[in-house]
C-alpha cells in the first residue's frame, strides 16, 4: 500500500513498502519498495520458513539505509518454495464430499461436512496452536447452520448485534472456508494454496454450497446482499464461466 508510505513519510517517518503488484507500485512511487515475486496474500513468502522470511524483511529494511532516492523499487530475487504442489498431500476424504455432486441439498451436505472435518480440524489446532476461524464470532457449527439457512431460502436475521445479516453471512462464509482449509492442511504434507483451493472449490461440499449460494442470491432484491454474494464469496478465478 504505497499511498500509506507517502502519508507517513511526509509526516517524517521513514518507510519501506513491500510490493506484490509491481505496476501499482511503479505508478504510486513510494519512497522505497521491495517487490516480491510471491502469491497475493503472502508478502513475506513461504509459511513456516523463518530464515526465508527474515531474508525478505532484511532486503526490505536495508533499503532504509540507502543514501540516494527517492524512488527506490528493488526486486527480491527468490521464488516462494512453498508455491510448488506437494505430491504427498491427500485431500480429506469425507463421505459427504464424495456424495456432494449427486446430492440435491447443498445445505445438508455443508453441515454434514463441517461435522466430518471436526477431527482433522482438531489435529490442525493441536499442530499449529491456532485457528483463524472467528470473524463471525459464532461457533463453527452455527456458522455452517447460518450459511445453510440462507441456502434453504430462509434469510435468517443477524445473530450478532451491530452486524447486518449480509455482513454476518460474509464472515460466516470466511469462517467456514478457514475451517475447511485448515482441516484439509492438517498433517505433515505441505500442500500449495492451489492444491487446497482445487479441493475446496471443486470437491468439497462447502465449496459447492458457496457456488450454490452465489447462484441463488444473485437474484436478490437486497443490493448489499447481491454485492456480497457476487463479489465477496467465490474468488474470481473460481467463478464458473457463463
Amino acid at each position: 500500500m504505497s499511498a500509506l508510505a507517502h502519508y507517513l513519510e511526509e509526516e517524517g517517518i521513514p518507510t519501506v513498502a513491500i510490493s506484490l503488484i509491481r505496476p501499482q507500485t511503479e505508478n504510486t512511487k513510494p519512497p522505497r519498495a521491495l517487490w516480491v515475486p510471491f502469491e497475493l496474500g503472502r508478502p513475506f513468502g513461504p509459511p513456516s520458513d523463518p530464515e526465508f522470511q527474515k531474508r525478505v524483511i532484511m532486503a526490505a529494511l536495508r533499503l532504509l539505509e540507502r543514501e540516494t532516492g527517492p524512488v527506490i523499487i528493488e526486486d527480491f530475487p527468490d521464488d516462494d518454495p512453498r508455491a510448488q504442489p506437494d505430491p504427498a498431500w491427500r485431500p480429506p476424504s469425507t463421505r459427504v464430499a464424495m456424495a456432494a455432486g449427486a446430492a440435491d441439498s447443498p445445505a445438508l451436505c455443508l453441515e454434514a461436512e463441517i461435522l466430518e472435518l471436526r477431527g482433522a480440524h482438531q489435529r490442525w489446532v493441536a499442530q499449529h496452536r491456532r485457528t483463524t476461524v472467528g470473524l463471525s464470532g459464532l461457533p463453527i457449527g452455527e456458522c455452517a447452520r447460518y450459511v445453510a439457512d440462507w441456502l434453504r431460502g430462509k434469510a435468517p436475521p443477524s445473530p450478532r448485534e451491530g452486524f447486518s445479516a449480509p455482513l454476518i453471512l460474509r464472515f460466516a462464509v470466511d469462517d467456514v472456508k478457514a475451517y475447511c482449509l485448515e482441516a484439509a492442511a492438517a498433517g505433515t504434507a505441505k500442500p500449495s494454496s492451489r492444491q487446497l483451493g482445487d479441493w475446496f472449490w471443486n470437491q468439497a461440499a462447502a465449496g459447492a454450497a458457496m457456488h450454490a449460494l452465489r447462484a441463488a442470491l444473485q437474484a436478490s432484491d437486497d443490493e448489499r446482499l447481491k454485492l456480497i454474494v457476487s463479489n465477496f464469496m467465490v474468488p474470481a478465478t473460481r467463478v464458473p464461466a457463463t
Binding site: A3, L4, E10, I13, V16, L40, R42, I57, L61, T237
Partner: protein
C-alpha cells in the same frame, strides 16, 4: 508467483490498471543505521485482534495490534477474497512478521521493535485513509518509531 503473467488475464489486467493516486511530492526521510532503528509494522491486510471490531466493507481507519498479541489472536478481515489466506493460516509471519522482527532485534540487526503495530484495509480509497494515516504518524513518533515496514496482501 504474483508475476502478472501467472494470473488469469482478466485479473492481471484489473490489478495492473487499478487506478492509483498520483503523488507530486517525493518525500524522503533518512535515519540512523538499521541497528539503531525502532521498527513498526503497518499492514494493509485488514488485520484485527480477535474480539475487536473487524473491518466492515471499506472502513478507512486502522486497527491497533499491541506487541503482546499472540498468533492465535490475529485475524484477517480484508474485504477481498482474491488472495491466498492458507499461508497466513499456517503461519502469521507470512503477513505479520512480528516474531521475525523480535529475532532481528535479538540479533542486533535492528535496534528494537515498536510497542504497537497497526493495520489498515488496503482496498479502501487511499484518499479516505489519509487523515487516519497522518494521525497514526503522531502515534508512531510517540513510540519513537523511525522505520515502518508496509506489507500488503
Amino acid at each position: 508467483m504474483t508475476r502478472l503473467t501467472d494470473l488469469p488475464p482478466a485479473q492481471a489486467k484489473r490489478l495492473a490498471e487499478l487506478e492509483c493516486p498520483e503523488f507530486e511530492a517525493r518525500p524522503w526521510v533518512t535515519g540512523p543505521a538499521l541497528s539503531q532503528r525502532r521498527v513498526a509494522i503497518v499492514s494493509s491486510a485488514g488485520l484485527v485482534v480477535r474480539g475487536e471490531d473487524p473491518f466492515r466493507g471499506r472502513d478507512a481507519d486502522y486497527r491497533v495490534i499491541p506487541a503482546e498479541t499472540r498468533p492465535d489472536e490475529l485475524l484477517i478481515s480484508h474485504i477481498s477474497i482474491n488472495f491466498d489466506r492458507t499461508g497466513f493460516q499456517e503461519d502469521w509471519s507470512v503477513v505479520f512478521p512480528l516474531d521475525r522482527l523480535r529475532e532481528l532485534a535479538g540479533e542486533g540487526a535492528i535496534g528494537s521493535v515498536a510497542q504497537t503495530h497497526y493495520s489498515f484495509m488496503g482496498a479502501t480509497d487511499p484518499v479516505q485513509m489519509e487523515p487516519h494515516a497522518r494521525e497514526l504518524a503522531g502515534r508512531l513518533k510517540r513510540d519513537a518509531v523511525d522505520a515502518v515496514i508496509l506489507p500488503p496482501v
